[in-house]
Symmetry: C2
Subunit: 345 residues, 2 copies
């Protein structure tokens, strides 16, 4: 793509063209996930809600979209040595699955405190588990060594245009499935999901509002948005701690990284508001997902509903302007025992 008006050739790490290319590339490997609705939840929210259920995606989360786009974007020579990532979450399983589909090795660096079931997911999809210590330094050092030893390619969970393009395919599907969407509520993860969704949705219809949803106990994205600079929290405190391996803590920490480098502008420029919700609101929303929507979600999958039901949402332009509100249900990988503990609180 050529630049114009002296702007750089590509303002963001991805654009509507790269997202449409991703849609074609990954179509054979992913599910076109359904959109669910509930008149009971509509009544509670005062809006028509549309739940884009990525919990039904392959691997139980949206991550396969970005991972398969990145891995099938590699040329044969690049791909031949395999791929590496370090993650204890849904990205690890997605990279393993996409590499299996491409028939190349996947080396997954996993911290030694990772929950067993996530490790099992990686193994089930054929990923080669390489243990590291718990610290980010150790994870990165081990990943670097694996890269050197194997000649494999690093697949970053979000700081990568191919990943963002893959996640952006959610918007293409959603806006086809439900015409007239006025706002999309997106859990703030590493920033890749909300970046891809924003870029695609606003290219199709610039008036669509994008709202990030973040836990109050780890609201660095919200604070950063208000301050106009990166705010680093001394610590985080959210349901993710209580639920062991669930993603909200990791999501909030990792988000800071999306303020670095080329990803920063997407969240800064295209995300209209960030709503923060308490753990109690997340748990209440999870229970509604189970009891009313009949969908198994992890806490980060329910946070969008929690945001829509919050008073904060009623202060946004999105609330004033939109009748049809989409909620991205990002994933459903949850340990039932941990879930029950959290619902019983």
């Amino acid at each position: 793509m050529d630049g114009k008006n002296n702007q750089p050739c590509q303002i963001y790490a991805a654009d509507i063209d790269s997202i449409k290319e991703a849609q074609v590339r990954i179509a054979p490997f992913i599910h076109r996930t359904p959109v669910l609705s509930s008149s009971t939840l509509d009544s509670l929210a005062g809006k028509q809600l549309f739940f884009k259920c990525e919990c039904f995606q392959k691997g139980g989360a949206f991550k396969i979209r970005g991972a398969s786009n990145a891995i099938f974007s590699l040329d044969d020579l690049e791909a031949s040595k395999g791929v590496v990532t370090h993650s204890s979450g849904n990205h690890a399983a997605a990279v393993s699955l996409a590499a299996k589909l491409r028939k190349i090795p996947a080396y997954i660096v996993i911290p030694e405190n990772a929950p067993k079931c996530k490790v099992e997911n990686v193994k089930r999809y054929g990923g080669q588990v390489i243990w590291s210590e718990v610290t980010m330094q150790s994870r990165e050092a081990v990943a670097k060594k694996v890269l050197e030893d194997t000649g494999a390619v690093l697949i970053h969970p979000f700081n990568d245009g191919r990943i963002i393009s893959g996640q952006g395919t959610i918007s293409l599907e959603l806006l086809e499935q439900v015409p007239g969407i006025g706002a999309i509520i997106v859990p703030i993860s590493g920033g890749g999901l909300i970046s891809g969704i924003s870029l695609a949705a606003k290219a199709i219809n610039p008036s669509i509002r994008i709202i990030g949803a973040e836990p109050k106990g780890a609201d660095d994205a919200s604070q950063s948005k208000v301050a106009g600079r990166i705010v680093t929290l001394p610590e985080t405190n959210t349901i993710a701690d209580g639920l062991h391996y669930l993603c909200i803590g990791a999501i909030s920490l990792a988000f800071k990284k999306s303020f670095l480098g080329f990803l920063r502008p997407v969240v800064r420029d295209l995300v209209d508001d960030i709503i923060t919700v308490s753990d109690e609101e997340i748990i209440k929303a999870m229970r509604m997902c189970y009891e009313i929507l009949k969908v198994v979600v992890e806490p980060s999958g329910a946070i969008g509903l929690a945001a829509v039901l919050s008073d904060q949402f009623k202060q946004t332009t999105a609330w004033q302007e939109s009748n049809k509100v989409a909620i991205i249900v990002s994933g459903g990988n949850v340990d039932l025992a941990a879930l029950w503990d959290s619902l019983g609180r």
Copy 2:
């Protein structure tokens, strides 16, 4: 429809025409439910599985299809006095909801031991709760009195061609959504669901196999099919007892009624096999629905998967002939506390 060959005008209580009419009639009031799939479950089953998720239906179960077809089939005079049913299950809520949509009263006779949450469902949809004693005699007597007092119309949960036609719309959707289905696995409820599904599916493609799924502890349908006559069990023993208000016990008991009168031939003639599964198999299948499919199901919603994973299924013609197997996930109305108890067993 005119008879031919001296057969009665209508062999069964419903046919493909009445089912297609139902589809048009109920379209404004129901969800077109999605079909989910999972390569992990495909590997376990050795078949391509397609889950028709009626747990996402309005009211959390397929019952609204039949209830709305029956209630919107009434002429204005018939409808004006309202409708009556006796049920403590999903049919009660469905009749309440359909009556609310038609803007007529719904009188729901509920036994005094009915679980609170089911009663709440009825009330939430505006049904008028009328208590009876627990016995079927009392339920029927109270319903009869309500009929006399109000002049309302009885909406039977399954022994009614309009109900069967409504439930049959599932097949029309399913066979549009997934071409090439070779077999459909259906929980044996009162007989209305499997009758409607069989009539529609075999009218479209007579080679489609229909398999009923029934709990071992209440296998009167299976025994009756083998014996060629109605077998009445002295007692039933299934997960329904442990899970309080869940439907399997009621389903199995009620099935006997479908052997009476005009419904008998559908199950006798069009259901190819009935597979019985243990409570342990049902619980295992429920867990898979939660952990792999990410769908909240009640025991009767998971029984189809349990049947497909059973050794018995491998003995059927359906197994030999079919690559694509559909499973009807009939409902997702489950109390989370009771669920957790059963999964923890």
